[in-house]
């Protein structure tokens, strides 16, 4: 293809985010230590500006660069917007934590911005190697960020564990890509679909490649049995980074997986959907059952998010227009809710330095706002009404049922019920048990976190009460990766 055909100008959002990261690196040199907060504000305002520029700039644009390696479409746009929003929220929520517990804020914010760039690229990748490179960029940023608390042994342990297991899974992923390339002679999603449509039977190489690919991606998204790194990394990483790993890395991983499976592997759905459905069932049950036994709130949320990955995988197993919508709707609900709960807990941790579930005793009287925010978020994760979780689960489970996976939806409902028990344990501490002796003082939260958590909680409620606008955006995004479906009504005839 000729150089002239490549519309580099469509990459402006990516260039701008990368540029912003380097501006932060540079600005860091010129700021006195006590004025480093400026870095965070520049990052957030910069991201907001890029976001405001990107939406009108790329809306309804449909193009692919470098022979289909890189896609510019509404699907990518949706995830770019989501990634930037998540990045902005995490940076805002980090400010107090960074001041209190971390050093080197310049690198912290800049690396966070680079990881946002990686997430944006993952959603836009139209080919396996581009996807792999974006995924590695994200992973490397997260390896560094999870070990950012230099003096904290747990943080160091988390980082090393994450790097070792992450590298191993990257190996699996690469080997899977090699096998798939060997079998199909292409790494482009679109050409893979054409190849798969043209063959009668799936040969061994293809099957091994597919399995390795699923295993490698399973590691990245922490699906059982590839989840072992998650609890330790969640526990050891700095609190805002835990939130970022829980939300951002999953959003990016599913953005990639959904496009890969919808655009590339859909013709072979019979071959992999049983595998994915089994993985989903295992993940949701195991994650939620193990969460029952946790006493540390970060570990509990780690297993809870493993369980959520199971729900999301169900959307992949049932791949259709409806379930792709369901997956994305649930992903949005999951992101907003988890950010709300993590930053409420961060606010608590900033003051008390504690993160055991038992330490939340009496929070309802120490800080009614935090207690209410955590309760609402946990109820949303459990899927109770008026909150995002109810609608998103209902949508996702309906979609699975519509694709003859009612049994899996049933397993998901049971898993959801199990999760309610351990969420209630936290709520019991906050509302029913009194604070331990000498711990009864009120908790003062800085206005910034107050506002941030407040806005996130309101979003959780809004999404639960009136999800239609978000659903409409998602339907547009799905229409790009799964063209045939009638996204507006989804009636069969």
């Amino acid at each position: 293809m000729m150089e002239a055909d490549v519309h580099f100008e469509l990459l402006w959002p990516e260039f701008l985010v990368a540029g912003l990261a380097f501006v932060i690196f540079t600005l860091d040199f010129f700021l006195r230590p006590e004025r480093k907060n400026i870095l965070a504000w520049v990052s957030v305002i910069g991201l907001a500006g890029i976001l405001a520029f990107t939406i009108p700039y790329l809306l309804d644009e449909n193009d692919s660069l470098f022979n289909g390696l890189y896609r510019i479409d509404d699907y990518a746009l949706f995830f770019k917007v989501l990634s930037m929003a998540i990045g902005g929220v995490v940076i805002l929520g980090s400010i107090h934590y960074v001041n209190r517990y971390l050093t080197h804020p310049g690198e912290y914010y800049a690396i966070l911005l680079l990881s946002v760039l990686a997430m944006m690229m993952m959603a836009a990748s139209g080919e396996l190697l581009t996807a792999y490179l974006s995924l590695e960029l994200l992973s490397f940023c997260l390896y560094i960020l999870s070990g950012f608390a230099l003096q904290n042994k747990k943080s160091n342990e988390a980082s090393i564990k994450y790097i070792l297991l992450g590298a191993f899974s990257s190996g699996l992923l690469l080997y899977g890509i090699v096998m798939l390339y060997g079998a199909m002679g292409t790494t482009s999603f679109a050409e893979m679909a054409i190849f798969l449509e043209g063959i009668e039977d799936i040969d061994g190489r293809l099957l091994i490649g597919l399995t390795l690919l699923i295993a490698g991606l399973g590691f990245k998204m922490a699906a059982v049995p590839f989840h072992m790194w998650a609890p330790d990394v969640y526990e050891g990483a700095p609190m805002p980074i835990t939130a970022y790993i829980a939300v951002g890395s999953k959003v990016a991983a599913f953005a990639l997986v959904l496009r890969l499976f919808a655009e590339g592997l859909l013709p072979a759905i019979e071959q992999w959907n049983v595998l994915i459905a089994g993985l989903a069932a295992l993940t949701m049950l195991f994650g939620n059952l193990v969460a029952l036994a946790q006493t540390n709130v970060k570990r509990m949320l780690a297993y809870s998010s493993v369980g959520q990955v199971g729900f999301l995988l169900m959307g992949v197993a049932a791949l259709s227009t409806l379930s792709s919508n369901g997956l994305m709707v649930h992903l949005v609900g999951y992101s907003v809710t988890n950010l709300a709960v993590f930053f409420a807990i961060t606010a608590f941790y900033n003051v008390t330095g504690k993160e055991e579930i038992a330490d939340f005793a009496g929070l309802a009287s120490r800080s009614p706002f935090l207690a209410a925010a955590i309760t609402i978020s946990l109820f949303s994760l459990a899927g109770l009404p008026f909150l995002a979780g109810f609608v998103t689960k209902f949508y996702l489970f309906s979609a699975a049922a519509a694709e003859d996976l009612l049994w899996l939806a049933g397993v998901a409902m049971v898993a959801s019920l199990i999760s309610l028990y351990y969420y209630l344990k936290v709520i019991r501490e906050m509302y029913i048990n009194p604070a331990a002796d000498g711990e009864g003082s009120t908790i003062q939260i800085p206005g910034l976190l107050y506002g941030l958590v407040g806005i996130l909680v309101i979003s959780v409620i809004l999404l639960g009460v009136y999800p239609d606008p978000v659903v409409n955006m998602i339907e547009d995004a799905t229409a790009v990766i799964l063209p045939g479906g009638d996204a507006s009504t989804l009636n069969l005839r």
């Binding site: 109770l384 009404p385 949508y395 489970f397 049922a401 519509a402 939806a409 019920l417 028990y421 019991r428």
Partner: protein, 507 residues
């Protein structure tokens, strides 16, 4: 949003559902230490609900077109979800029941001084959920409100409830709260599976994604499908109705809950379950419900006898009433299981009548517990000498419970017995035996607590029910007598709702 609102009656219905919900949100912004203000605010919210419900009930015309109550908005078109509210002859009395018990519950909670703001917020959300279930005409929202009615239970029981000491072991309020919440949500999982299955199957058959009850009831589901999925609805809703052997949450939950919550819980929440079986299960899956009707009526009979026999063995006043609720809900389930118009009418009337009666019971037990800090029948001997008014109303509730003519339960149970005789004579006899056992434990309890010898020293400072509590008791007793002496109007209304459902069974 594309919507339809059909005149003043539908606006009132919407207001009825919305008032406690927005009332709860507004209450969140009240200063937490203004207890008197919070109590009066809650009373006004409850009273306005009662006024609307009473208006809807009184003006309900059985010959009228029900579409005047319809509120309909498009909500999530891609799944076929609409926000639709409506009324029928079955739901009008139940909505009124909820309004009465909410009002009574708020009044009886005059003594709640531990975080009253939070208490009333959760109580209002619970009530909003119940109104919503009765009024919803769309399965998504029915399920939505169903869960909303369950959620507040956890904190209401866990924070404001009370623990029971059995000597050898302790049933804590935390245990009760967790048990209620998990069991009820487990029930809702079964309901959810059935809802999704029906939605999916209807979409395959008609090609239209639709969650509305009216739409789904037009779909010709295959017999096999109906027989497979009806039990999910029957057991899922049945759990909330206290269906044996899934009833164990109910006594534990009632006992641990604070008075107002016990009243709402036994009085209204359990009715949601029976209502679900009737208004969802039997309406959408008639073949399935006919197939499983013998099982339902059989389990209902076990409910009646098992609940009554268990109640005989209890020493704690609230456990007696808790098991008596299990027993009385058995009559409701039996009535539904007969698929006989008379008996189903009776079942719906029994829902209403048992709701009022059990609320009166719990209100009076709450009065006693607040003053004596005990619910142990053996400790509370001879209280009648000090608490005459309480005793009278407890006796009223007791006599209603054992089906004394003149009170509404008599009418309801009579209808159920007749209907059961016509269909399953042997079970009809067993049901009457259940009523006889009821007489045994009720009279034993009344005799012990009110007419035994009193420990003069221990109870010398005991006071009787105050004006507020007496007022609640009079209100509830009034309804028991009203429907007992003049049941024709309410039976006519109920009948107008039951007949269209029963026509589908050809009876």
């Amino acid at each position: 949003m594309v919507g339809v609102v059909n005149g003043i009656d539908s606006v009132l219905l919407f207001t009825l559902v919305a008032t406690p919900f927005f009332g709860a949100i507004a209450l969140a912004f009240f200063p937490a230490d203004r207890h008197v203000l919070i109590h009066w605010y809650s009373r006004i919210i409850a009273a306005s609900g009662l006024a609307i419900a009473a208006y809807l009930f009184i003006t309900f015309d059985t010959s009228d077109d029900l579409s005047k109550y319809i509120v309909d908005f498009e909500w999530l078109p891609s799944l076929g979800i609409r926000f639709t509210l409506g009324l029928s002859g079955i739901t009008v009395p139940l909505v009124l029941l909820n309004a009465i018990i909410f009002f009574g519950g708020v009044l009886i909670s005059w003594n709640v001084d531990h975080r009253p703001k939070d208490f009333f917020i959760w109580l209002m959300l619970l009530v909003a959920g119940v109104y919503g279930v009765f009024a919803s005409r769309d399965l998504f929202f029915l399920f939505f409100f169903y869960e909303l009615a369950v959620v507040p239970m956890y904190l209401l029981v866990g924070v404001w409830g009370s623990s029971t000491d059995f000597g050898t072991f302790l049933r804590t309020k935390e245990y009760g709260a967790m048990k209620v919440m998990l069991v009820l949500v487990a029930g809702s999982v079964l309901v959810w599976i059935a809802i999704l299955a029906m939605w999916m199957e209807a979409r395959e058959i008609t090609g239209i994604a639709d969650f509305s009850i009216a739409g789904l009831s037009q779909v010709e589901f295959s017999d096999g499908f109906q027989k497979l999925y009806y039990p999910f609805l029957m057991i899922g809703f049945g759990i909330l109705a206290g269906l044996w052997p899934f009833h164990t949450w109910s006594p534990d939950g009632h006992v641990a809950a604070p008075t107002a919550v016990s009243m709402l819980h036994a009085g209204v929440l359990m009715k949601l379950g029976a209502f679900g079986i009737l208004a969802v299960g039997m309406v959408i899956l008639p073949v399935g419900s006919r197939f499983w009707a013998p099982t339902l009526i059989g389990l209902g009979t076990v409910n009646v006898l098992y609940g009554a026999i268990s109640a005989m063995g209890q020493k704690d006043l609230k456990y007696v009433i808790g098991y008596s609720s299990v027993s009385h809900m058995g009559y409701v389930l039996m009535g539904l299981g007969t698929l006989d118009i008379l008996a189903v009418d009776g079942a719906v009337l029994q829902m209403f009548s048992h709701g009022i009666m059990t609320a009166l019971f719990f209100a009076m037990v709450g009065v006693i517990y607040q003053r004596t800090h005990s619910r142990d029948i053996t400790v509370l001997e001879g209280l009648g000498k000090r608490m005459g008014i309480t005793g009278v109303f407890l006796a009223v509730a007791g006599l209603t419970s054992l089906g004394l003519p003149g009170f509404s339960s008599f009418v309801a149970e009579l209808l159920i017995f007749i209907g059961t005789y016509r269909t399953y004579p042997i079970l009809g006899v067993l049901a009457v035996i259940g009523a006889a056992i009821t007489a045994v434990y009720i009279l034993r309890m009344l005799g012990k607590v009110f007419f035994g010898p009193i420990d003069e020293d221990k109870w010398k400072d005991l006071t009787d029910a105050n004006r507020m509590e007496t007022g609640v008791a009079v209100l509830l007793t009034g309804f028991l007598l009203l429907w007992g002496l003049y049941p024709f109007r309410i039976v006519e209304i109920i009948d107008s709702g039951v007949v269209p459902i029963m026509e589908r069974f050809g009876s």
